[in-house]
């Protein structure tokens, strides 16, 4: 069985892409030609940061030769993707659960105001816990899903 099911990335090279067999600039990885080392991919193994601008261009455009170089590039790239996903997840969860915690804490601090009916029999805390929390969650979850899927499947540059 292939882990990742049907989604597991294959190792086959994409015909027509730079570096693919037969394509211009293709390489089997055995060339000894000098290429400048990409920034931040050196042996110091820095904490992964978002791969943007020059760094991203460097990974794309330079052929990395040794397995170690490719390994570091891979860690760097996936670390950056992971960081973006983690930020997005924490932001979405922080917004949603921050609202829930705030409501509960406010209710504990100001029970009179939070439980006083103010609109059609609804008090602020009841309106939030019984009704508003659902559409708020739906909106945050929709935005999260769109962005998370966009990080996973970015458009071609």
């Amino acid at each position: 069985m292939t882990p990742g099911g049907d989604e597991a990335p294959g190792n086959s090279r994409i015909p027509g892409t730079p570096g693919a067999p037969g394509a211009p600039g293709a390489s089997d990885g055995s060339s000894e030609a000098y290429l400048p080392e990409p920034p931040n991919l050196a042996s110091s193994r820095p904490r992964p940061q978002p791969l943007l601008g020059e760094q991203r261009r460097t990974v794309r455009e330079h052929q990395l030769h040794s397995e170690a170089e490719r390994e570091r590039a891979e860690e760097f790239h996936v670390g950056a993707v992971m960081l973006r996903q983690r930020r997005l997840s924490l932001l979405a969860a922080g917004m949603l659960f921050g609202l829930v915690a705030a409501t509960i804490i406010l209710e504990d601090l100001f029970p009179g105001a939070m439980n006083r009916p103010f609109w059609h029999g609804f008090s602020p805390s009841f309106l939030f816990a019984a009704v508003l929390i659902y559409p708020i969650t739906w909106v945050i979850a929709l935005v999260y899903t769109l962005r998370a899927n966009a990080i996973d499947e970015p458009r071609d540059p």
Partner: protein, 532 residues
């Protein structure tokens, strides 16, 4: 036979029988499609977003939710809302932190994830134990609820009721595997959702009782001093937060829910499935408390000066079991025998779909995790399917026995236990495994063990605790304890798996990573199976 006042139950019985026959027909038609373990456990990973979302919702929407949330609102007022949105928000945590990476990892079960991430047979064995404990703890209130529903709504004796439920579910899971379970769960969820919305719409239509009118009426009748209506948090703030921690994170660690994410074809569709679950389940939890408040209002109204509420026989019937009979009482009051029939169908659907999901996940724990991966990795597909079916029969019998043993226990205690254990064992390991490179096998085992022992100890030893931490649910203590143990032991151990970076590539890598790899700009990679 007449268990409900003034209304014959033939229609409800017919609806229940039709539902049971329908599940059998679906399973029979799919019996020949179960040729591989992937087909049996994961429906060949070809479940669409709408199917999977409906099936996950059906998996999650138990009898305790279908009848219990409205019942809690009827009995305890505003405080019941914590249960409604707590159950709901668990899926937001699944979406934000687990769904995508877990689906990308693939495989069959949650113990597969633990073993794949940490290369630890001990880790897998402890995870299997946790899955079995959580699933059986979760199955116990389902069986108990099923027996009580059959007894109160249909007049079927308790033992016979759970025997019928166990036999029906075991038969269709054995015959049709995950695919039949999925199709049945889809049907059952929509039956339950239509039933609850039909009751709510009949209240708005016939009774002309909007949410605001009910709340205003309740406040007028019960007065501003009513504890049930004036406080969202009648317990202390830490107790409320502890309950929410258990409900939210417990949902995000339920193995029978998480395993369904593997059935989607890819990661994006797994996320869309969970988003749709939030929409479907949210609709349900939006409506269910409203029905409970209406029942509370009608009870108050019927004892007031105008006597404009439930009839006396209906009030006496409701007094038999207020928590479980709030929705049926509303259905009877507004919809008569037809309404009650719909609710019986909904409740029965909720029981069948949840127990079926639990049966699939526990049989996978036996057949896949114990037999195939630990005992006989050379087993061919035919043998694996045979073992899977045998495991299903064994677990069906176990669930029947669990149902008989817990007859005198309280549903709320059992549900709380299942959520506390789930939040304190599998959830910390899953989240740490996906997002933290530093997790080690010993850390994961320590986290699961501490979570399991502490949650069982704090629930069963509730009375021995100091008064200030005698909370309704100990999740607020046990979840941090489990995370602490996991982190501390991992730090002390330091034996991080060598391939942790490759694991992270598998679960977090994106299309650009695949393109770079294809172009030779990232290292070529063996498949994850080869790495193991």
């Amino acid at each position: 036979m007449e268990a409900a006042p003034g209304h014959p139950l033939e229609f409800a019985l017919i609806v229940g029988l039709v539902l049971l026959v329908l599940t059998g027909v679906v399973a029979w038609n799919l019996r020949k499609h179960q040729r591989t373990a992937s087909e049996y456990y994961l429906a060949g990973r070809k479940v669409t977003v709408l199917q999977n979302a409906s099936a996950i919702s059906g998996d999650y929407l138990s009898a305790a939710s279908f009848l219990g949330v409205a019942g809690l609102a009827f009995l305890y007022g505003f405080a019941a809302l914590h249960y409604a949105y707590g159950f709901f928000l668990g899926f937001a945590v699944v979406l934000f932190f687990i769904a995508g990476p877990l689906r990308k990892f693939g495989h069959y079960t949650i113990p597969d994830f633990v073993a794949g991430r940490l290369h630890s047979k001990t880790g897998r064995a402890v995870a299997v134990f946790c899955v079995l404990v959580i699933s059986l703890l979760y199955a116990a209130p389902q069986m108990l609820g099923a027996g009580k529903i059959m007894l109160i709504l249909l007049g079927v004796p308790y033992e016979a009721g759970i025997a019928v439920v166990a036999l029906t579910i075991t038969s269709y899971v054995v015959l049709g595997g995950m695919r039949a379970t999925t199709i049945n769960q889809v049907i059952q969820f929509w039956v339950a959702l239509v039933a609850i919305f039909a009751v709510a719409l009949s209240i708005v239509g016939d009774g002309n009782l909007t949410y605001g009118e009910v709340l205003a009426g309740l406040r007028a009748a019960e007065g501003q001093g009513s504890a049930g209506l004036d406080a969202l948090t009648p317990h202390s703030l830490p107790a409320t937060l502890s309950l929410l921690v258990a409900l939210v994170l417990g949902t995000a660690g339920l193995p029978h829910i998480l395993v369904r994410l593997y059935t989607n074809p890819d990661r994006a569709r797994a996320r869309w499935s969970v988003l749709l679950v939030l929409l479907l389940i949210g609709s349900f939890y939006l409506v269910a408390p409203y029905i409970g408040f209406v029942v509370r209002y009608l009870v108050v109204a019927s004892t007031g000066p105008g006597g404009d509420g439930f009839s006396q026989p209906l009030l006496e019937w409701l007094a038999l079991d207020g928590k479980n009979l709030a929705v049926p009482a509303a259905a009877l009051h507004f919809g008569g025998s037809f309404g009650l029939g719909l609710v019986v169908a909904g409740a029965l659907s909720a029981v069948l779909s949840t127990v079926a999901g639990l049966l699939v996940v526990t049989s996978a724990a036996l057949g896949h995790d114990l037999y195939y991966t630990l005992y006989n990795p050379q087993a061919d597909e035919r043998t694996r399917v045979l073992v899977a079916r045998g495991s299903t029969i064994v677990m069906g019998l176990v669930m029947l026995m669990v149902g008989l043993v817990v007859e005198q226990m309280q549903i709320a205690v059992l549900v709380g236990l299942a959520f506390a254990v789930s939040a304190s064992t599998l959830f910390p390991v899953l989240v740490a495994g996906i997002w933290w490179r530093g997790l080690t096998a010993k850390g994961a085992v320590a986290g699961m063990a501490v979570g399991l022992v502490s949650s069982l100890a704090l629930i069963f030893g509730h009375g021995l605790l100091p008064a200030w931490i005698q909370w309704e649910n100990p999740g607020g203590i046990t979840v941090p304890l489990a995370f602490l143990a996991l982190w501390l032991v991992s730090r002390l151990d330091g034996n991080i798996p060598e391939d942790v970076d490759r694991f992270m590539v598998v679960v977090h890598g994106n299309r650009e990573e695949r393109r770079l790899r294809s172009a030779g700009r990232l290292r070529s990679r063996r498949s994850f199976a080869e790495m193991k």
